[in-house]
Amino acid sequence: MTANTLTPALHDTITLERTYNASPPRVFAAWRDVEARERWSKPSADTEIVYDQAEFKVGGLDIVRCGFKGDLRFQAHVRYLEIIPDARIVMAETVAENGAAKAVSLITVEMKAAGKATDLRVTLQVSALDGSDMLQGYLDGWSPTLDNLANEF
């Protein structure tokens, strides 16, 4: 690229809250286990998520391909920054489409016992890099997946 044609980044925070009929250890396990995540972290039945690498530990990296079935055009790199079992997971994510960066985000997942249930709060701090509607994309992607997570319990 000859000219500096940088598109200004757009920044926003999205907070999603759910309550699940399961203890914090069971909710935590659904985030820890890759097989469980492959089930619940698809926003709809016509989408697919494939883990090429999964390293659920501080400093570890997940490498994920996702999109509509047969067209896994999105790549996500997820770096784990902090893990407190049954309580908190913090990660940094980069999302690219066919190799071009679309967004970076800091994701904080908090779990808290509420009687026999678990209150979950997910805070998505997103910087959309390419001028697209990634902020809406994060909301559209995460909201149904957190609904799906209830099916695990």
Binding site: N4, L6, P8, A9, G59, R79, L81, A101, S105, L106
Partner: protein
């Protein structure tokens, strides 16, 4: 540690802008070049630097350990480079810790826009989760502003 003893994070966002008398390419180099980066970002009066690694590439990890002179605690900075667009943008995630315990996690996007004749408008946006209380965001912004002051000194002092 149980859930009841875990500090709840405060989430915050802040932006710092600087008009610089240097081209985006030149400003970018002060982040990319290990010696320049060490001068303005790592070293500082009153700080003992125990360890610092430079790893400027996508996926790269930098680890620093430092303490204020005479202070009993060791602070740490772990930085992961998430995305780099040459001379235009640097996106990182970084965690700050004290004696091994994290006290903040941040997403930081630094953008370099050409401005005026041969200048650059630097825009730094940090979104973070802070565990140290209500003043964290204000204090972090002040700390970052100080660093960008040091960047200006670096740019003027070294061609």
């Amino acid at each position: 540690m149980t859930a009841d003893t875990i500090t709840k994070p405060i989430f915050g966002t802040f932006t710092i802008e600087r008009k610089l008398r240097h081209k985006p390419e030149r400003v970018f180099r002060a982040f990319e070049d290990p010696e320049a980066h060490y001068r303005w970002f790592v070293s500082g009066e009153g700080w003992e630097i125990a360890r610092y690694t430079h790893d400027f590439r996508v996926g790269g990890h930098e680890h620093g350990q430092f303490r204020p002179v005479g202070h009993p605690s060791t602070f740490s900075n772990d930085t992961w480079y998430l995305e780099i667009a040459e001379a235009r943008r640097i996106s990182i995630a970084y965690s700050m810790g004290m004696d091994g315990a994290p006290f903040s996690h941040s997403l930081a996007v630094t953008e370099f826009f050409p401005a005026g004749k041969g200048g650059c408008r630097l825009v730094y946006t940090e979104q973070g989760a802070y565990y140290g209380g209500e003043d964290d965001v204000k204090n972090r912004k002040a700390g970052c502003a100080e660093l960008f002051g040091k960047l200006e000194v670096e740019l003027d002092a070294h061609a």
